[in-house]
Symmetry: C2
């Protein structure tokens, strides 16, 4: 079963990659050449595609049997925006991402900033097309779009980036740190899981349970990220290790120690799975994905 | 008639302002306080609301008799993004806008950048809600959203900003300059007019004519902007005059002289009106708006 789940994830990853390539072919033809190249570079790099895979797993857990790949890929377009901007010199100033030079290292800061900016309107178009492609009614398409844009916006990712930036060099409390992470990483991850439910026309109770799973998994993912930043090498991570310390960021390991942070992350994973089990939604794939957020090596 | 058109514009402006205030109340409650304040400051400043007013005039010209104000206000949300980012130190580095300090002068660069970024996902949510509020069928709602996001994205505004930045200090040809302006200012202005048509369920021929009007008016608007930058005072403009020269930007007056530039702008206005007349769509309001883009003092 574990093997078949892995095979499903690999197939999902390849399908999402193909969707992203189609988006590039369809939507980047009239984009100024430099921005188009930077967007393509960012979108088609090797990624875990965790958000997309979570969306597809949630979709199936809710009985969806169509093809939600384009919607899953639209979430990855939003995620690509956040990676480009997080790496910019005015943010984390990072040189490596997914084992390659970051977008601004290849295309310059202005082009990278513009390419990042352009991801959100691109994602909105992709998501609108995907909702229609799934044959969903108008209200569901609108709800999908609004949820994705909310996660991408000032309540979600952008607000989280801002809080993150404001917190650099300050000694944050656990609550403050959690608030940043819930917005910066958690919002899009939560939305991914809920959007899988929405794509399968799930009801409010199901969406609520999926959202709680997503929020817990998202926070566990971020705690694991903080831990990996101190315990892994740049080679293993595909991005620069030790960055948080260099930027004087408050992190979970700094506040709780590595073991304490991992204990907290594992408890969140257990909570996440428990929530879904109670709702009758815990598939092997969703359980495995939750555990993976903490057990991963990069 | 001219007076009644002015009264309509004033009423439209007030209604759009009210929509924007509602958007702030509805969508900014969970946004980090600094970003929410900056977004509110930007959205609720005194503006011409030309894009919104064009949308409403096009809507009525196409027989629309509902309330398209929320959709018109969604376009202004996208426009607000472009103003914030254009003014940033890394772009035009401007201190004044709409007669007040620019957003980054009040809230700092990071908050202003984030507030700008957050405008596009906010606009997508507003537009999705507005399409539904107009009772339009799903395809039309999707088309409205895609058109707005296209104008906001890498083919439109963001691509134009990038070309604009890349062109600073270079001697651009008229063709290159026009390409920048068509993307940077023209795309959203064109989309505004076409969205008015879409909101009224206009057919492809009508949208095509509205698009040509919008593109011509958009270019005329930008030429007039270039002219005002050299002929007006900061007080009259509500933003810093003489900025293009200071930034060594290629402009229409630099390439054609002030008189030559105004002649070109007036020819575009005549073209714009001619196109609509031929299509049977030229209302007094749309004619007056086209002329206003060149005759305005700020």
């Amino acid at each position: 079963m574990a093997e078949s789940a892995d095979a499903t994830f690999a197939a999902d990853r390849a399908a999402v990659q193909a969707s992203l390539a189609r988006f590039c072919d369809r939507y980047l033809t009239e984009v100024p050449a430099a921005a188009a190249a930077a967007m393509r570079y960012s979108l088609l790099g090797e990624g875990k595609r965790l958000r997309a895979i979570l969306l597809l797993a949630a979709y199936r857990a809710c009985g969806g049997h169509g093809d939600a790949t384009d919607l899953a890929a639209a979430v990855e377009v939003v995620h690509a925006y956040s990676l480009i901007h997080d790496d910019l010199p005015c943010m984390d100033d990072d040189d490596m991402r997914r084992g390659r030079p970051t977008v601004h290292r290849v295309y310059g800061v202005s082009v990278a900033a513009a390419a990042g900016l352009a991801m959100v309107p691109l994602a909105a178009r992709c998501a609108a097309g995907a909702g229609r492609g799934l044959g969903l009614p108008q209200d569901a398409c609108g709800a999908i779009l609004r949820e994705l844009m909310r996660a991408a916006g000032a309540e979600g990712m952008i607000g989280g980036q801002l809080l993150d930036l404001a917190g650099e060099g300050l000694a944050l409390s656990l609550d403050q740190l959690e608030r940043i992470h819930r917005a910066k990483t958690g919002a899009l991850l939560t939305a991914s899981v809920r959007l899988g439910g929405r794509a399968a026309a799930a009801g409010d109770d199901v969406l609520e349970a999926l959202g709680r799973y997503g929020a817990a998994v998202g926070l566990a993912f971020q705690i694991a990220d903080d831990v990996l930043d101190v315990t892994s090498t740049t080679d293993e991570l595909g991005k620069t290790a030790g960055r948080d310390l260099a930027l004087q960021k408050s992190t979970y390991p700094a506040l709780l120690g590595v073991d304490g942070a991992l204990t907290r992350a594992r408890a969140l994973v257990a909570d996440a799975c428990g929530t879904l089990e109670q709702a009758g939604l815990l598939t092997p794939a969703l359980e495995r994905l939750a555990r993976y957020t903490v057990s991963r090596r990069n």
